[in-house]
Amino acid sequence: MESLKNIESLAYFSPEILLVVFAAVVIITDLIIKNRESEIVAYISLVGLGCSLVAILITNSFISNNEPISLFFGMIRLDGFAVFFKILLLLATAATILFSLRSEELDIKLKGEYYALLLAVTFGMFLMASSTNLLMIFIALETVSLTSYILAGFLTHSPRSSEAAFKYITYGAVASGTMLFGLSMLFGMAGTGDLMQISAQIAAVLASGGVSTLSVLIAITFILAGIGYKIASVPFHMWSPDVYEGAPIPITAFLSVASKAAGFALFLRFFHVGFGKPEILQSIDWVFILAIVSALTMTVGNLAALPQRNVKRLLAYSSIAHGGYLLMGAVLLTPEGLGAIFFYLIVYLFMNLGAFYVVVLIANEAGTEMIDGYRGLASRAPLVAGAMAIFLFSLTGIPPLAGFFGKWFLFYAVIGEGLYWLALIGLLNSVVSLYYYARIVKAMYFETAEDTNGLSFSKGTFALLSVFAVPTIFIGLLNFFYTISDKITLQ
């Protein structure tokens, strides 16, 4: 397969270019307009996302017969896999912008920067989903990390937010450094940064005795540390509860869905393309090692979520646990595992963002993120409470909600590989998770609030809520969503 040269590549790169252009437009508009209350920059960002989506769909039509297109001398790649993740990330960003519009905690003085950064981080995530070169992978990761640090600390008046940003930077810097070290080791051994050739090169030098298996193991472990940090897998998850709790709620929602999805995109491409070959896997049982990481991640996430009283923090731990579920599919290196991840990510996008949207609404109306603030919500705002119950039970994995079908797909893939123990741990984790999700439901439905006045929300709120709730009910029941993964190949 021929790689396209720089200029030729630009047309295929239009979704990314559009994001950058609109980020610039947002900044310039923000400089021009006088009215600080104006929401125009948010709407410009949304238009930018819309244009980028159209561009994605057009570039997708260039891909014929699932044949990937290699751009910029093999630095990045346009294939069904990248397109899938780009659409997913775009939807998550759009939702984040809509949440931000409704969130009352954000500083109105810095709107231009905020939305420009959101577009920039999306741009970085697009690159994470499509990079096929070690150098490009690192640049993509750093673009995302640096912008995320700022976004996490965006509540300038809140010490918690600043603390979150600081923790995020400290952990992030260590993880990036470790990863860069791993990448350079790998580059040194393979003599190439191209993910497509790396495994053959490594296999060759291993066979010739040029390097030892141990050094390959160390390099890959270091790289995994960087990726593990992004998807908040054990033992690199420590930052996430504090960051998720301190960051503005829309950003927390964004990090827990988009950042995780991008991390998984990178993980999958790196592992499946770069190291899915049996010759590398021969000496080291990666499946087993990563299966243990996955089991630990979901167990730690779920157990730590049990005592939480702050819903935002609870959802942070829950999202660590979901990272663990997703990791089950990722470690298998099978088409079923990949399909399960794609399906689960779609479901997770809707149910998790939906849950965070309710957190935004309650923070606005009741001024709290604690579970106590959800007391009696069923009588104060029945539709919001109903939607939240749907999201939470879907996160638990109760049929007929989409979360169940997502988990079913994952466990099916895991058991298909004979990893019964992992499936059992995952399933028992789901039972544990019911307890803490149900605590919120209990507060909403079984308890009564001191303040029994009804809460009123705008029509737009309910519309946005149903955008998340309706798919959470129906995705699992419709055959269409199961066929999506057939169209995505990872070569």
Binding site: I398, I415, G416, L427, Y435, A438, K442, F446
Partner: protein, 509 residues
């Protein structure tokens, strides 16, 4: 189509109820009643028109492709066993709506909507012929039940609701693993995977009987048998998974207790017959072959349920808790009969499932009637009620007698057949199990004495008699207990062909 209509009419009803204005309580109740009467009419039609002499699935709908990636199909149909339980479910639907007519004080609309969703789940479960669909319907009952107990229950409702949910979910995850294992092995013959995998229950049953097929392997059958069994055992509930039941029953509102005892427990035993026994006879044989502890384990579990449940019931002073523990005891007879694996045992067990559904529903309704008047259920707090509520006392006596197994009433036939079957296989265990019947007579008669006879407690001088609506909920059930007591073939004829077939499969092992 008729069957699908029956299953999804309550779901449609749920949507209609949700669209009604919140204040119009009377309208909501009537609409809900209407939407539960339609399944009853269809179920009665199916029951009457079911061709009794033919073994096999009747009134099928499907298989229609649903999730093609996993060859999951929408496939429903009925045989004699399922149509009997569908009739029970559909009958209890309107009865429960009537029983909720006056005593649901808040959120009536949500209550009725959830109840209708629950009914769809139950009806769908009994009709499913695709294992995946079967599981989804099984789990569909969880959410409404959780809310119905948790929102409208008694003082400890929150605890009872989450306990019910956690226990059942724990059981069903094991079932899920077993289900996936069955699916993955459904196309493996002699170690070679060929063709498509399937969830079709009927196909799976025949595959599991094919020599050389992965599903027919006794070791494999044992593990998946255990996975499914624990899932269903939590639901039945079988000792030691029973502790959620007394809590759930005591806290649940009357109508929900009725559904819980009348239908939800039967989902467990129905699952054991449909999946564990029909699909994994080799696995079943390991636990029922009469050799050692393991070979007697299923019968022993039945025995423990009978004796332990009855003894616990004897110790209760809360009327509802007493009935709840008596349920555990009576479900023990079902397990014992099924463990026997012969024609009498299985016929008796299935009949007992239906009878227990009817009788325990009556008992819970009766407890509810008393509770609505006195606002407590302390058995020792009453006395001499018979003078004030003669009709109520009469109906209660009928239900008690039916439940304790008085010949001539339905409870006797099911238990007698179960014991008759079990005696042929497990003599000692069966003899010991009859202790449960004696204890059962003791606690019911003792309760009768404490609540209805003796000096009238002066507090209850003006206790109003049972009203027409309440009588209306009890009469159909009372008639059934008498009819089935005298003419058990009314129900036995329905499933005897299916049972004969199942027994042939079991005896071939």
């Amino acid at each position: 189509m008729l069957l699908s209509l029956m299953i999804f009419v309550p779901l449609l009803g749920m949507i209609v109820v949700l669209l009604l204005p919140r204040e119009s309580d009377e309208l909501i109740k009537r609409v809900t009643l209407g939407f539960t009467l339609i399944p009853l009419i269809i179920a009665a039609y199916l029951f009457i028109n079911y061709e009794r002499s033919i073994f096999g699935i009747q009134y099928p709908h499907g298989p229609v492709d649903w999730i093609t990636a996993f060859n999951i199909k929408y496939y429903i149909g009925i045989d004699g066993l399922s149509v009997t339980l569908i009739l029970l479910t559909a009958l209890l639907g309107p009865i429960c709506v009537l029983a909720s007519w006056r005593n649901i004080e808040k959120g009536l609309k949500a209550y009725m909507a959830l109840f209708l969703l629950l009914e769809t789940g139950m009806l769908g479960f009994f009709a499913s012929l695709d294992l995946f669909l079967f599981f989804v319907f099984f789990e569909l009952t969880l959410l409404p039940m959780y809310f119905l107990i948790g929102v409208w229950g008694g003082p400890r409702r929150e605890y009872a609701a989450i306990k019910f949910f956690l226990y059942t979910l724990f059981g069903s995850v094991l079932m899920l693993v077993a289900m996936i294992a069955v699916y993955l092995n459904s196309n493996v013959i002699n170690g070679v995977a060929e063709g498509v995998r399937t969830f079709d229950i009927l196909t799976l049953i025949s595959l599991a009987a094919t020599p050389g097929h992965a599903l027919a392997d006794p070791g494999f059958q044992m593990w998946v048998f255990l996975g499914f069994f624990i899932g269903f055992a939590v639901k039945v509930p079988i000792f030691p998974f029973h502790t959620w039941l007394p809590d759930a029953h005591v806290e649940a509102p009357t109508a929900i207790s009725v559904i819980l005892a009348g239908v939800l427990l039967k989902m467990g035993t129905y699952g054991i017959v449909r999946v564990n026994m029909a699909m994994f006879p080799e696995g079943l044989a390991i636990f029922t072959n009469g050799v050692g502890i393991v070979g007697n384990s299923l019968a022993l579990l039945g025995f423990i349920n009978i004796v332990y449940g009855s003894l616990c019931a004897l110790a209760q002073t809360d009327f509802k808790k007493l009935v709840a523990y008596s349920s555990i005891g009576h479900m023990g007879f079902v397990i014992l009969g099924l463990a026997a694996g012969n024609s009498e045992g299985i016929n008796g067990a299935i009949l007992q499932m239906f009878n227990h559904g009817v009788i325990s529903a009556m008992l819970f309704l009766l407890v509810g009637v008393l509770y609505d008047r006195a606002h407590h259920r302390e058995i020792n707090g009453f006395g001499g009620i018979a003078t004030k509520m003669p009709v109520y006392t009469g109906i209660t006596t009928l239900a008690f007698m039916a439940s304790l197994g008085l010949p001539g009433l339905s409870g006797f036939v099911g238990e007698a057949l179960s014991l008759l079957g079990a005696f042929q296989e497990f003599e000692l265990i069966t003899i010991l199990s009859t202790i449960g019947i004696v204890v059962g007579a003791a606690y019911f008669l003792w309760t009768l004495q404490r609540v209805f006879l003796g000096q009238l407690n002066p507090k209850y001088e003006d206790l109003p008699e049972i009203n027409k609506r309440e009588i209306l909920t009890l009469v159909p059930l009372g008639i059934l207990t008498i009819v089935l007591g005298i003419w058990p073939n009314f129900a036995l004829d329905m499933f005897s062909e299916s049972v004969t077939n199942l027994v042939n499969v079991l005896e071939a092992i």
